[in-house]
Protein backbone atom coordinates (compact mmCIF):
# COMPACT_ATOMS: atom_id res chain seq x y z
CA UNK A 1 0.00 0.00 0.00
CA UNK A 2 1.35 3.40 -0.88
CA UNK A 3 -0.16 5.44 1.87
CA UNK A 4 1.48 7.98 4.11
CA UNK A 5 0.94 8.88 7.71
CA UNK A 6 -1.36 11.87 7.97
CA UNK A 7 -3.62 11.07 5.02
CA UNK A 8 -7.16 12.10 5.85
CA UNK A 9 -10.03 9.85 4.81
CA UNK A 10 -13.13 11.37 3.22
CA UNK A 11 -15.83 12.08 5.77
CA UNK A 12 -18.82 9.74 5.85
CA UNK A 13 -22.15 11.10 7.10
CA UNK A 14 -24.80 8.55 8.01
CA UNK A 15 -28.35 9.73 8.68
CA UNK A 16 -29.33 7.48 11.57
CA UNK A 17 -32.98 6.79 10.79
CA UNK A 18 -35.04 4.40 12.92
CA UNK A 19 -34.98 2.05 9.92
CA UNK A 20 -31.19 2.14 9.95
CA UNK A 21 -30.99 1.41 13.70
CA UNK A 22 -33.47 -1.45 13.46
CA UNK A 23 -32.28 -3.07 10.24
CA UNK A 24 -28.66 -3.08 11.39
CA UNK A 25 -29.60 -4.47 14.82
CA UNK A 26 -31.54 -7.31 13.21
CA UNK A 27 -28.82 -7.92 10.58
CA UNK A 28 -26.35 -8.37 13.45
CA UNK A 29 -28.81 -10.66 15.29
CA UNK A 30 -29.14 -8.28 18.23
CA UNK A 31 -32.77 -8.29 19.39
CA UNK A 32 -32.42 -6.22 22.55
CA UNK A 33 -35.45 -3.96 22.77
CA UNK A 34 -33.42 -0.73 23.08
CA UNK A 35 -32.47 -1.18 19.41
CA UNK A 36 -35.99 -1.48 17.98
CA UNK A 37 -38.63 -0.38 20.51
CA UNK A 38 -38.65 3.30 21.37
CA UNK A 39 -41.19 2.97 24.21
CA UNK A 40 -38.97 0.43 25.95
CA UNK A 41 -35.83 2.43 25.25
CA UNK A 42 -37.41 5.51 26.85
CA UNK A 43 -38.61 3.48 29.80
CA UNK A 44 -35.04 2.35 30.38
CA UNK A 45 -33.86 5.95 30.53
CA UNK A 46 -32.81 6.50 26.92
CA UNK A 47 -34.19 9.22 24.70
CA UNK A 48 -34.70 6.94 21.72
CA UNK A 49 -33.54 3.67 20.19
CA UNK A 50 -29.82 3.62 19.50
CA UNK A 51 -27.20 1.73 17.49
CA UNK A 52 -25.87 -1.54 18.88
CA UNK A 53 -22.16 -2.26 19.26
CA UNK A 54 -21.91 -4.80 16.47
CA UNK A 55 -23.23 -2.19 14.06
CA UNK A 56 -20.77 0.42 15.26
CA UNK A 57 -17.97 -2.10 14.74
CA UNK A 58 -19.34 -2.85 11.27
CA UNK A 59 -19.58 0.82 10.32
CA UNK A 60 -16.01 1.48 11.42
CA UNK A 61 -14.83 -1.48 9.35
CA UNK A 62 -16.90 -0.38 6.35
CA UNK A 63 -15.66 3.22 6.62
CA UNK A 64 -12.05 2.08 6.29
CA UNK A 65 -12.65 -0.50 3.54
CA UNK A 66 -14.72 2.04 1.54
CA UNK A 67 -11.49 4.02 1.40
CA UNK A 68 -8.95 1.19 1.23
CA UNK A 69 -10.79 -0.70 -1.50
CA UNK A 70 -11.88 -4.25 -2.19
CA UNK A 71 -8.35 -5.68 -1.97
CA UNK A 72 -7.93 -4.50 1.61
CA UNK A 73 -7.65 -7.08 4.36
CA UNK A 74 -8.84 -5.95 7.77
CA UNK A 75 -6.68 -7.34 10.57
CA UNK A 76 -8.28 -5.68 13.57
CA UNK A 77 -10.91 -3.20 14.71
CA UNK A 78 -10.47 -1.77 18.20
CA UNK A 79 -13.09 0.66 19.38
CA UNK A 80 -13.92 2.64 22.45
CA UNK A 81 -17.57 3.52 22.94
CA UNK A 82 -18.86 6.88 24.10
CA UNK A 83 -22.11 8.77 23.59
CA UNK A 84 -25.03 6.68 22.34
CA UNK A 85 -25.93 7.08 18.67
CA UNK A 86 -29.67 7.74 18.77
CA UNK A 87 -32.20 7.52 15.98
CA UNK A 88 -32.65 10.86 14.14
CA UNK A 89 -29.04 11.86 14.82
CA UNK A 90 -26.30 11.96 12.17
CA UNK A 91 -23.19 9.87 12.65
CA UNK A 92 -20.16 11.58 11.12
CA UNK A 93 -17.14 9.34 10.60
CA UNK A 94 -13.70 10.82 10.07
CA UNK A 95 -10.35 9.09 9.87
CA UNK A 96 -6.65 9.58 9.45
CA UNK A 97 -3.72 7.28 8.77
CA UNK A 98 -1.54 7.08 11.87
CA UNK A 99 0.91 4.33 10.87
CA UNK A 100 1.98 3.10 7.46
CA UNK A 101 4.31 0.45 6.13
CA UNK A 102 4.83 -1.44 2.88
CA UNK A 103 2.32 -4.07 4.02
CA UNK A 104 -0.47 -1.98 5.48
CA UNK A 105 -1.54 0.87 7.69
CA UNK A 106 -3.44 1.84 10.80
CA UNK A 107 -6.35 4.28 10.53
CA UNK A 108 -7.63 6.20 13.52
CA UNK A 109 -11.39 6.63 13.25
CA UNK A 110 -13.75 8.93 15.13
CA UNK A 111 -17.55 8.76 14.87
CA UNK A 112 -19.29 11.85 16.19
CA UNK A 113 -22.92 12.44 17.08
CA UNK A 114 -24.70 15.40 18.67
CA UNK A 115 -23.83 14.14 22.14
CA UNK A 116 -20.09 13.91 21.44
CA UNK A 117 -17.86 11.07 20.33
CA UNK A 118 -19.93 7.93 19.78
CA UNK A 119 -16.87 5.88 18.87
CA UNK A 120 -13.13 6.28 18.67
CA UNK A 121 -10.86 3.54 17.48
CA UNK A 122 -8.16 2.08 15.28
CA UNK A 123 -8.44 -0.17 12.28
CA UNK A 124 -5.44 -2.17 11.13
CA UNK A 125 -5.63 -2.92 7.45
CA UNK A 126 -3.35 -4.67 4.98
CA UNK A 127 -3.49 -5.97 1.43
CA UNK A 128 -5.09 -9.22 0.34
CA UNK A 129 -2.60 -12.08 0.63
Amino acid sequence: MSVAVGIVLPELRIPVTPTFVISTAVATRDFQDVHHDRDQAVRRGSKDIFLNILTTTGLVQRYVTDWAGATAMVHSVAIRLGAPCYAYDTLVLTGQVTQASSTGCVVAVVGRVTGGDHVTGQVEVGRLP
Binding site: F20, R44, T57, L81
Partner: protein, 330 residues
Protein backbone atom coordinates in the same frame (compact mmCIF):
# COMPACT_ATOMS: atom_id res chain seq x y z
CA UNK B 1 -19.18 -6.60 49.64
CA UNK B 2 -15.96 -5.74 47.79
CA UNK B 3 -14.46 -8.92 49.24
CA UNK B 4 -17.36 -10.99 47.95
CA UNK B 5 -17.04 -9.50 44.47
CA UNK B 6 -13.28 -10.00 44.36
CA UNK B 7 -13.59 -13.58 45.57
CA UNK B 8 -16.24 -14.37 42.94
CA UNK B 9 -14.13 -12.71 40.24
CA UNK B 10 -11.11 -14.78 41.22
CA UNK B 11 -13.18 -17.98 41.24
CA UNK B 12 -14.68 -17.27 37.79
CA UNK B 13 -11.33 -16.16 36.37
CA UNK B 14 -9.58 -19.25 37.71
CA UNK B 15 -12.21 -21.48 36.09
CA UNK B 16 -10.82 -20.38 32.71
CA UNK B 17 -12.71 -20.46 29.44
CA UNK B 18 -16.38 -21.38 29.51
CA UNK B 19 -17.87 -24.08 27.31
CA UNK B 20 -17.65 -23.67 23.55
CA UNK B 21 -20.86 -22.20 22.16
CA UNK B 22 -21.58 -23.01 18.51
CA UNK B 23 -23.19 -20.53 16.18
CA UNK B 24 -26.78 -21.34 15.22
CA UNK B 25 -26.10 -21.32 11.50
CA UNK B 26 -23.01 -21.82 9.39
CA UNK B 27 -21.50 -18.73 7.77
CA UNK B 28 -23.96 -18.05 4.97
CA UNK B 29 -24.55 -15.65 2.11
CA UNK B 30 -28.12 -14.61 2.97
CA UNK B 31 -27.01 -13.25 6.34
CA UNK B 32 -23.94 -11.68 4.74
CA UNK B 33 -26.13 -9.91 2.18
CA UNK B 34 -28.53 -8.68 4.86
CA UNK B 35 -25.58 -7.30 6.81
CA UNK B 36 -23.99 -5.60 3.79
CA UNK B 37 -27.30 -4.03 2.85
CA UNK B 38 -28.11 -2.79 6.37
CA UNK B 39 -24.59 -1.47 7.07
CA UNK B 40 -24.42 0.08 3.59
CA UNK B 41 -21.20 -1.76 2.70
CA UNK B 42 -20.87 -1.99 -1.10
CA UNK B 43 -17.56 -3.82 -1.12
CA UNK B 44 -18.13 -6.51 -3.82
CA UNK B 45 -15.44 -8.80 -2.46
CA UNK B 46 -17.57 -10.67 0.06
CA UNK B 47 -20.14 -11.95 -2.41
CA UNK B 48 -17.53 -12.55 -5.14
CA UNK B 49 -15.20 -14.55 -2.90
CA UNK B 50 -17.86 -16.09 -0.66
CA UNK B 51 -16.31 -14.67 2.53
CA UNK B 52 -17.87 -12.84 5.43
CA UNK B 53 -17.03 -9.25 6.44
CA UNK B 54 -14.65 -9.56 9.40
CA UNK B 55 -16.81 -7.32 11.59
CA UNK B 56 -19.56 -9.97 11.27
CA UNK B 57 -17.54 -12.48 13.31
CA UNK B 58 -19.56 -11.99 16.50
CA UNK B 59 -22.83 -12.06 14.56
CA UNK B 60 -22.43 -15.77 13.90
CA UNK B 61 -22.59 -16.59 17.60
CA UNK B 62 -25.19 -14.07 18.75
CA UNK B 63 -27.75 -15.70 21.00
CA UNK B 64 -30.80 -14.54 19.04
CA UNK B 65 -34.28 -13.45 19.99
CA UNK B 66 -34.78 -15.84 22.91
CA UNK B 67 -31.39 -16.20 24.56
CA UNK B 68 -30.89 -19.09 26.95
CA UNK B 69 -29.38 -18.16 30.30
CA UNK B 70 -25.92 -19.71 30.45
CA UNK B 71 -24.62 -19.66 34.01
CA UNK B 72 -21.33 -21.20 32.88
CA UNK B 73 -20.59 -18.22 30.66
CA UNK B 74 -17.96 -16.12 32.51
CA UNK B 75 -19.51 -12.73 31.69
CA UNK B 76 -23.00 -13.95 32.63
CA UNK B 77 -21.66 -15.35 35.90
CA UNK B 78 -19.77 -12.18 36.80
CA UNK B 79 -22.75 -10.00 35.83
CA UNK B 80 -24.98 -12.01 38.15
CA UNK B 81 -22.58 -11.41 41.06
CA UNK B 82 -22.51 -7.65 40.39
CA UNK B 83 -26.30 -7.52 39.92
CA UNK B 84 -26.66 -9.04 43.37
CA UNK B 85 -24.38 -6.35 44.79
CA UNK B 86 -26.58 -3.61 43.29
CA UNK B 87 -24.48 -2.84 40.20
CA UNK B 88 -27.46 -3.56 37.98
CA UNK B 89 -26.80 -1.32 34.98
CA UNK B 90 -24.34 -2.08 32.25
CA UNK B 91 -22.66 -0.17 29.45
CA UNK B 92 -20.00 -1.44 27.07
CA UNK B 93 -16.83 0.65 26.98
CA UNK B 94 -14.34 -1.20 24.75
CA UNK B 95 -14.42 -3.79 22.00
CA UNK B 96 -11.18 -4.88 20.35
CA UNK B 97 -11.45 -7.51 17.64
CA UNK B 98 -8.58 -9.23 15.84
CA UNK B 99 -9.23 -11.27 12.71
CA UNK B 100 -6.74 -14.02 11.87
CA UNK B 101 -8.46 -14.74 8.58
CA UNK B 102 -11.81 -14.14 6.89
CA UNK B 103 -14.55 -16.71 7.39
CA UNK B 104 -15.82 -18.61 4.35
CA UNK B 105 -19.34 -19.42 3.30
CA UNK B 106 -20.42 -22.70 4.91
CA UNK B 107 -17.93 -22.73 7.79
CA UNK B 108 -19.21 -23.45 11.29
CA UNK B 109 -17.86 -21.31 14.10
CA UNK B 110 -18.00 -21.59 17.87
CA UNK B 111 -16.88 -19.21 20.57
CA UNK B 112 -15.29 -19.62 23.98
CA UNK B 113 -14.97 -16.81 26.52
CA UNK B 114 -13.01 -16.30 29.70
CA UNK B 115 -12.93 -13.64 32.38
CA UNK B 116 -9.74 -11.57 32.26
CA UNK B 117 -10.20 -9.17 35.12
CA UNK B 118 -12.63 -7.22 37.26
CA UNK B 119 -11.57 -3.78 38.46
CA UNK B 120 -13.32 -1.59 40.94
CA UNK B 121 -15.03 -0.08 42.64
CA UNK B 122 -14.46 2.96 40.42
CA UNK B 123 -16.22 6.27 40.49
CA UNK B 124 -17.48 7.11 37.00
CA UNK B 125 -19.73 9.72 35.45
CA UNK B 126 -22.49 7.10 35.38
CA UNK B 127 -22.10 6.07 39.01
CA UNK B 128 -19.95 3.73 41.05
CA UNK B 129 -19.09 0.56 39.20
CA UNK B 130 -16.77 -2.25 38.19
CA UNK B 131 -15.04 -2.78 34.86
CA UNK B 132 -15.36 -6.37 33.69
CA UNK B 133 -13.06 -7.54 30.90
CA UNK B 134 -13.50 -10.78 28.98
CA UNK B 135 -11.61 -12.41 26.14
CA UNK B 136 -13.43 -14.43 23.50
CA UNK B 137 -11.97 -16.61 20.78
CA UNK B 138 -13.82 -17.89 17.72
CA UNK B 139 -12.84 -21.26 16.32
CA UNK B 140 -13.47 -23.23 13.14
CA UNK B 141 -12.72 -26.73 14.34
CA UNK B 142 -9.48 -26.39 16.29
CA UNK B 143 -8.34 -23.29 14.38
CA UNK B 144 -8.66 -19.93 16.13
CA UNK B 145 -10.01 -17.50 13.52
CA UNK B 146 -10.72 -14.36 15.54
CA UNK B 147 -10.48 -12.97 19.05
CA UNK B 148 -12.07 -10.15 21.00
CA UNK B 149 -11.37 -8.27 24.20
CA UNK B 150 -14.63 -6.84 25.49
CA UNK B 151 -15.03 -4.50 28.47
CA UNK B 152 -18.22 -3.44 30.18
CA UNK B 153 -18.89 -1.15 33.11
CA UNK B 154 -21.38 -2.63 35.55
CA UNK B 155 -22.59 0.33 37.60
CA UNK B 156 -25.05 1.23 40.28
CA UNK B 157 -27.63 3.57 38.78
CA UNK B 158 -27.59 6.93 40.58
CA UNK B 159 -30.31 7.14 43.21
CA UNK B 160 -30.41 3.43 43.91
CA UNK B 161 -29.28 2.00 47.22
CA UNK B 162 -26.48 -0.42 47.87
CA UNK B 163 -28.87 -3.32 48.24
CA UNK B 164 -31.01 -2.63 45.20
CA UNK B 165 -32.46 -5.82 43.78
CA UNK B 166 -31.29 -7.05 40.43
CA UNK B 167 -34.14 -5.50 38.53
CA UNK B 168 -32.77 -6.08 35.09
CA UNK B 169 -30.35 -8.71 33.99
CA UNK B 170 -28.26 -7.86 31.00
CA UNK B 171 -27.72 -10.50 28.37
CA UNK B 172 -24.02 -11.19 28.24
CA UNK B 173 -23.18 -10.92 24.58
CA UNK B 174 -23.01 -7.37 23.31
CA UNK B 175 -24.71 -6.22 26.45
CA UNK B 176 -25.23 -2.52 26.60
CA UNK B 177 -27.65 -0.12 28.10
CA UNK B 178 -27.97 3.57 27.70
CA UNK B 179 -25.70 5.58 29.92
CA UNK B 180 -28.86 6.59 31.81
CA UNK B 181 -28.83 10.09 30.30
CA UNK B 182 -26.96 11.50 33.22
CA UNK B 183 -27.90 15.13 32.80
CA UNK B 184 -31.62 14.42 32.84
CA UNK B 185 -31.25 12.31 35.91
CA UNK B 186 -29.26 15.05 37.59
CA UNK B 187 -31.99 17.51 36.65
CA UNK B 188 -34.54 15.34 38.37
CA UNK B 189 -32.54 15.34 41.56
CA UNK B 190 -32.06 19.06 41.39
CA UNK B 191 -35.76 19.48 40.82
CA UNK B 192 -36.63 17.67 44.03
CA UNK B 193 -33.96 19.61 45.82
CA UNK B 194 -35.23 22.99 44.73
CA UNK B 195 -38.81 22.11 45.49
CA UNK B 196 -37.88 21.27 49.04
CA UNK B 197 -35.56 24.20 49.47
CA UNK B 198 -37.06 25.94 52.45
CA UNK B 199 -38.24 22.81 54.19
CA UNK B 200 -36.23 21.85 57.24
CA UNK B 201 -35.87 18.36 55.81
CA UNK B 202 -34.63 19.55 52.42
CA UNK B 203 -33.24 16.85 50.16
CA UNK B 204 -29.55 17.52 50.22
CA UNK B 205 -27.11 17.16 47.37
CA UNK B 206 -24.30 14.67 47.78
CA UNK B 207 -21.18 16.81 47.82
CA UNK B 208 -18.27 15.01 46.20
CA UNK B 209 -14.77 16.00 45.15
CA UNK B 210 -16.24 16.81 41.76
CA UNK B 211 -19.05 19.05 43.02
CA UNK B 212 -17.58 20.64 46.17
CA UNK B 213 -16.40 23.73 44.23
CA UNK B 214 -19.94 24.30 42.99
CA UNK B 215 -21.52 24.26 46.45
CA UNK B 216 -18.70 26.34 47.92
CA UNK B 217 -19.55 28.81 45.15
CA UNK B 218 -23.24 29.05 45.94
CA UNK B 219 -22.40 29.56 49.62
CA UNK B 220 -20.15 32.44 48.56
CA UNK B 221 -22.78 33.89 46.21
CA UNK B 222 -21.04 32.67 43.05
CA UNK B 223 -22.44 30.48 40.32
CA UNK B 224 -19.45 28.39 39.25
CA UNK B 225 -19.11 26.33 36.07
CA UNK B 226 -16.61 23.54 35.75
CA UNK B 227 -14.04 24.13 33.02
CA UNK B 228 -11.75 21.48 31.56
CA UNK B 229 -8.12 22.10 32.44
CA UNK B 230 -7.12 20.59 29.10
CA UNK B 231 -9.32 22.05 26.37
CA UNK B 232 -11.33 24.64 28.28
CA UNK B 233 -14.70 23.02 27.58
CA UNK B 234 -17.40 24.07 30.07
CA UNK B 235 -19.54 21.35 31.57
CA UNK B 236 -22.40 20.96 33.98
CA UNK B 237 -23.20 18.87 35.98
CA UNK B 238 -19.56 18.64 37.04
CA UNK B 239 -17.65 15.40 36.50
CA UNK B 240 -14.16 14.01 36.81
CA UNK B 241 -13.22 13.75 33.13
CA UNK B 242 -13.73 15.94 30.07
CA UNK B 243 -16.02 14.42 27.46
CA UNK B 244 -14.32 16.39 24.70
CA UNK B 245 -10.64 15.67 25.31
CA UNK B 246 -10.49 13.15 28.16
CA UNK B 247 -8.42 15.34 30.47
CA UNK B 248 -8.98 14.83 34.19
CA UNK B 249 -7.76 18.28 35.23
CA UNK B 250 -10.34 20.94 35.86
CA UNK B 251 -10.89 24.40 37.18
CA UNK B 252 -13.92 26.65 37.06
CA UNK B 253 -15.11 30.05 36.10
CA UNK B 254 -17.70 32.24 37.77
CA UNK B 255 -20.74 32.58 35.56
CA UNK B 256 -22.30 35.96 34.84
CA UNK B 257 -25.45 34.55 36.38
CA UNK B 258 -27.72 35.24 33.45
CA UNK B 259 -29.47 32.90 31.08
CA UNK B 260 -32.63 31.94 29.28
CA UNK B 261 -35.27 29.41 30.23
CA UNK B 262 -34.71 26.38 28.04
CA UNK B 263 -37.56 24.37 29.56
CA UNK B 264 -39.61 24.40 32.73
CA UNK B 265 -42.23 22.56 34.75
CA UNK B 266 -44.96 23.86 37.02
CA UNK B 267 -45.12 21.61 40.04
CA UNK B 268 -48.71 21.48 41.35
CA UNK B 269 -48.85 18.02 42.89
CA UNK B 270 -47.87 16.06 44.97
CA UNK B 271 -47.51 18.35 48.00
CA UNK B 272 -44.00 19.30 49.11
CA UNK B 273 -43.43 19.68 52.86
CA UNK B 274 -43.19 23.32 53.87
CA UNK B 275 -44.00 24.68 50.43
CA UNK B 276 -47.05 26.34 48.97
CA UNK B 277 -47.67 25.06 45.47
CA UNK B 278 -47.42 25.61 42.59
CA UNK B 279 -43.74 26.25 42.15
CA UNK B 280 -41.84 26.63 38.90
CA UNK B 281 -38.62 24.72 38.22
CA UNK B 282 -36.65 25.64 35.13
CA UNK B 283 -33.81 24.29 33.08
CA UNK B 284 -31.85 27.43 32.31
CA UNK B 285 -29.35 27.78 29.50
CA UNK B 286 -26.67 30.05 30.90
CA UNK B 287 -25.11 32.80 28.82
CA UNK B 288 -21.94 30.68 28.92
CA UNK B 289 -23.79 27.80 27.22
CA UNK B 290 -24.28 25.09 29.84
CA UNK B 291 -27.69 24.27 31.29
CA UNK B 292 -28.61 24.23 34.96
CA UNK B 293 -31.75 23.47 36.94
CA UNK B 294 -33.29 25.65 39.61
CA UNK B 295 -36.50 27.04 41.01
CA UNK B 296 -37.88 30.22 39.48
CA UNK B 297 -38.57 32.32 42.55
CA UNK B 298 -41.59 34.55 42.96
CA UNK B 299 -42.95 33.90 39.50
CA UNK B 300 -46.55 33.57 38.48
CA UNK B 301 -46.49 30.30 36.48
CA UNK B 302 -48.57 32.02 33.78
CA UNK B 303 -45.73 34.51 33.21
CA UNK B 304 -43.03 31.92 32.73
CA UNK B 305 -42.06 31.32 29.11
CA UNK B 306 -39.40 29.36 27.31
CA UNK B 307 -36.80 31.87 26.23
CA UNK B 308 -37.47 34.24 29.14
CA UNK B 309 -34.35 35.93 30.54
CA UNK B 310 -33.45 35.07 34.11
CA UNK B 311 -30.90 36.12 36.71
CA UNK B 312 -29.43 33.82 39.33
CA UNK B 313 -30.33 34.20 43.00
CA UNK B 314 -29.26 32.14 45.98
CA UNK B 315 -31.44 30.48 48.60
CA UNK B 316 -29.63 29.86 51.84
CA UNK B 317 -31.14 26.73 53.41
CA UNK B 318 -28.81 26.53 56.40
CA UNK B 319 -25.15 27.02 57.24
CA UNK B 320 -24.13 24.15 54.98
CA UNK B 321 -26.39 24.41 51.98
CA UNK B 322 -27.16 27.24 49.60
CA UNK B 323 -29.16 26.49 46.46
CA UNK B 324 -29.00 28.40 43.20
CA UNK B 325 -32.37 29.67 41.97
CA UNK B 326 -33.67 31.99 39.26
CA UNK B 327 -35.63 35.21 39.01
CA UNK B 328 -37.31 36.47 35.86
CA UNK B 329 -35.79 39.66 34.50
CA UNK B 330 -38.29 42.22 33.20
Amino acid sequence: MEGTIRAAAERIRAAGAGPARPGRDPVNLPMIRNWLEAIGDRNPRYEQDGVAPPAMTQVWTMRGLHPVVEPADPLSAMSAVLDQAGFTSVVATNCEQTYHRYLRDGERVEVRSRLVDVRGPKRTALGEGWFVTTDSTWYVGAEAVASMTFRVLKFRPPGSTATAPASERAPAAASERVPAVVSERASGVAFERAAAAVASDALRPVVTRDTAFFWAGTAAGELRIQRCGGCGELRHPPGPVCRQCGADRQDHLVARGTGEIFSFVVHRHPPVPGRRLPIVVALVELTEGVRMVGEVLGADPRQVRIGATVQVDFVRVDTELTLPAWRLLP
